[in-house]
Amino acid sequence: MTPENRTSNEDKSARRLVLVMGLLLAVLLGGDWFLRFYWFAWHETIWLKSRPIAETPTAPASFLFTEQEVPPRTGGDLSHLIPIPDVRKRYEERHAGAVVTLDPAGFRNVPYDPSTQFSVVVVGDSYMAAGLPLSNQASAVLSALMGEPILNRAVPGRGPFQSVLRLLNEMDAGSQPPRLVVWGFIEREVSGSAFARFVQQLQAFSSREKAPAIPEAPAASGLRWAALAPASLRVALPNSSAMAQISRKTWSLIQYYGARRLPSEILVLEEAGQPPMLGYGEALASMYWTPAERDLPLAVQSVVFIRDFLAARNLRLIVVPIPDKEQIYRDLIPRSAWRGGQPPYASILPAFVGGLHSNGVPVVDLSPTFMAARARGERLYWRDDTHWNETGIRLAAEEIARLVSALRAP
């Protein structure tokens, strides 16, 4: 073989590796980016569909409610993280199905007349939107308790802030009668940085003519630049990656079949005489945030700003922070799940609620209620899911109703 032939043979073999790796990269990259938009709907977090607040209310062409059948299912969002069916069955509960009605804006609401004046509207994350059948939803339970129609505008799966933005989008400030906004979100979402980022969004959103009291800011361009900052991408890209979820599933399988261990994102909370309950690893992680990382003062300041922002639009805010399941049942957290051999920090809700009180923000303190209910033997959350069940929703609704009547009393 001449040297030239040998070199070209080497090159041909080298080409094999380069082609295979290149193809692999192209497939993984292409698939991941495609699924990021198609499945994770990442564009909804970076593109804010905001329209300027209208001068006059636009009447919808037709006011139709659609029916949607939600089938019954076994298992919740936590039990679904267990990849082995036999193991998963141990923790699953049966969740009833129901037929739900969606109003023209796409939210689950008991059918109402288009001329209905809602003086209370419920916003928040998946906890405020949870509940099947519809009569178990926070807004419906509250409505039954208070004897008046209550509008549900809670948005599941997008955290505490999206629903507030959508409400502002939909509403027409100024020409509406004053409304109470009941804003509920889970404890582990409370952090100074997240709330401060939302305040920045609001500042970009505000319209100058309608709210002269609010500091001026340029109108929203649609693109949330904050979502494309390196710090956000560092977190957002792996979290919206299909490859990452496949890797996690694979690793869970390896951990289980290799070492009989459940995925680290699940905690098993066992109480004597009770079937085991699942907890969320990420919630436990948030319970190890140092005070500096949590930055409660900034979170409180941000909520005060939000209160003022909404007040300038004739909206009166009531805050409902929902206790973490892992805090209510913290004595059941296994020692092996402790980080660095130390127990997690105590609940931040007392400090958060206290901070809001001292700033005059109406807030519902659910921690004592939930702890008392637990002591009575009531279960407030699903066993196989991060969310609260009917009992939890009902308890919260009772507290909210109490606060609302207190606020309305002359």
Binding site: E10, D11, S13, A14, R15, R16, L17, V18, V20, M21, L24, L25, L28, L29, D32, F40, V70, R73, G76, D77, L78, H80, L81, H95, S126, A129, A130, L132, P156, G157, P230, L233, R234, L237, P238, N239, S241, M243, A244, Q245, S247, R248, T250, W251, G258, A259, P263, E265, Y280, G281, E282, G340, G341, D385, T386, H387
Partner: protein, 466 residues
């Protein structure tokens, strides 16, 4: 940015390869690489870029000043200006905290009460400042010595200082090694394949081996009073962790360099197979030890001033080399430890002996492990705690407790890592034929690495079912 992150592997690197090979004209390549390197670096904190640019400009101008100066005094002034400013910037950001803390401690001890005489500033340490400061200083010193011609091409110099392949964790590259390559380099399939192989192996070493044993390190070092077995297991795991982490990163840097046509020097050559500490420093972080030799040891006098001066130079060089690693007295102690052993070996001449290699290899390995205790400990108390455990002060301990502490699988991984380090060839010694088997192995490895990286950096997706 880190090499093992989503945004690098699936955003910056593909775009860079696309721009470099497909989209942009060849004459733009250097500009492009420089811009990409600044994006890579500024991803952490855009303010870091300004400092690096300042260092680049100072060194570029100083080198031209040295070359153009007529008098020896003029040339020396430019050199002092450059080295002085580089060390001042490095010293301020990296060592001010240590200096202030120590000074305040001493003042308080003398005065009998806390007496902060220097404000303790909260400084963010710009990542990689030690590396790019050394990169650029070596250039001006070489110009002063006449070893290399200064460049008029600012972009070429800026690219050299900031090149993302070795900016953050080395190898420390001399300008003269890269100068010709910056202007003209070949891009062959063979190089690309080598690059991919090095990158894959480096990532595997770092993510699978180093990160794999790191929980063992944390567990063992966290024990309040470690017994003999726990202490030595902890130190052994750290020995493995630091080697696979650092050499893995160097391999990734070399691999990325090859992908863009650069041939970068070898930084590690099976250091734990060394037969003496002298030999160890010819195999560990080779780019740093040669840099220290050429720019610190030899200017101090090297071995030309007689035995006592030689020892002084050895200890001093190693001490400063230790300090370079981090602003902590433990690093200085580590450096001094190695310096003294080097002097001792020179004194007894045992570095030159050629008998009992296996025994000397084992002995050197133990000496290196003891050194790592200082390197890893956050302070002298921790080092003392571990050393007393290693010398049996807290008893022997037992294997069952160790397995409970560290986990059976991880201990098996540690054993595998140890065997590899002594028995297997290092990444530079592998013969690449690009057979189907080798390609398949590399593909499996890189998939495992990407999976591990994604599991570590992502959160579970709670699919909302309602």
């Amino acid at each position: 940015m880190l090499f093992n992150s989503y945004e690098f592997l699936f955003l910056l690197l593909p775009l860079t390869l696309l721009g470099y090979y497909v989209v942009l004209p060849k004459s733009w390549r250097l500009y492009f690489l420089t811009v990409v390197s600044y994006i890579f670096y500024g991803w952490w904190d855009y303010r870091f870029c300004g400092l690096m640019l300042l260092t680049t400009v100072i060194n570029y101008v100083s080198a031209l000043g040295v070359a153009r100066a007529v008098t020896p005094l003029g040339r020396r002034s430019w050199l002092y200006f450059c080295v002085g400013s580089g060390l001042a910037i490095l010293g301020f950001f990296k060592y001010y905290g240590l200096f202030a803390h120590t000074a305040n401690g001493l003042a308080g001890w003398i005065a009998g009460a806390p007496l902060p005489i220097l404000p303790e500033l909260q400084l963010i340490l710009p990542i990689g400042i030690s590396f790019y400061t050394f990169h650029s200083m070596s250039y001006v010193i070489d110009v002063y010595r006449g070893a290399v011609q200064p460049t008029r091409n600012f972009i070429s110099f800026a690219c050299f200082v900031s090149l993302f392949t070795q900016l953050v964790a080395g190898p420390i590259i001399r300008y003269r090694d890269l100068a010709a390559q910056l202007m003209a380099r070949t891009h062959t399939l063979q190089k690309a394949a080598l690059g991919l192989a090095f990158f894959t192996l480096g990532m595997a070493k770092k993510l699978l081996l180093a990160d794999g044993v790191s929980p063992v390190v944390a567990s063992c070092f966290g024990v309040a009073q470690p017994d003999f077995i726990t202490a030595w297991t902890g130190v052994l795991s750290y020995t493995m962790q630091i080697y696979f982490d650092f050499s893995g990163y160097s391999d990734m840097a070399v691999g990325l360099g090859y992908l863009f046509g650069f041939e970068i020097m070898q930084n590690f050559h099976s250091p734990y197979k060394a037969v003496s500490i002298t030999d160890f420093w010819r195999r560990w972080h080779i780019s740093l030890s040669t840099w220290l030799r050429d720019y610190l040891y030899i200017p101090l006098g090297g071995s030309r001033g007689g035995t006592l001066l030689t020892y002084r130079n050895l200890v001093l060089t190693m001490l400063l080399g230790g300090l370079w690693h981090g602003a902590n007295w433990t690093f200085v102690l580590w450096g001094a430890y190695h310096g003294f052993i080097l002097a001792l070996e020179r004194m007894t001449g045992c570095a030159e002996a050629s008998r009992a290699r296996g025994f000397r290899r084992a002995g050197t390995f133990v000496l290196v492990m003891v050194g790592w205790v200082f390197f890893r400990s956050a302070n002298l108390e921790e080092a003392g705690r571990l050393l007393s455990g290693m010398f049996g002060v807290n008893g022997w301990g037992n294997w069952v407790d160790l397995r409970d502490l560290a986990g059976g699988y991880l201990l098996a991984l540690l054993a595998l890592a140890t065997v590899l380090v002594f028995v297997a060839p290092n990444t530079w010694q592998l013969k690449w034929t690009w057979s189907r088997g080798q390609v398949a192995a590399l593909v499996v490895l890189i998939l495992a690495c990407v999976g591990a990286m994604l599991v570590n950096t992502s959160s579970p997706f709670l699919y909302f079912q309602f």
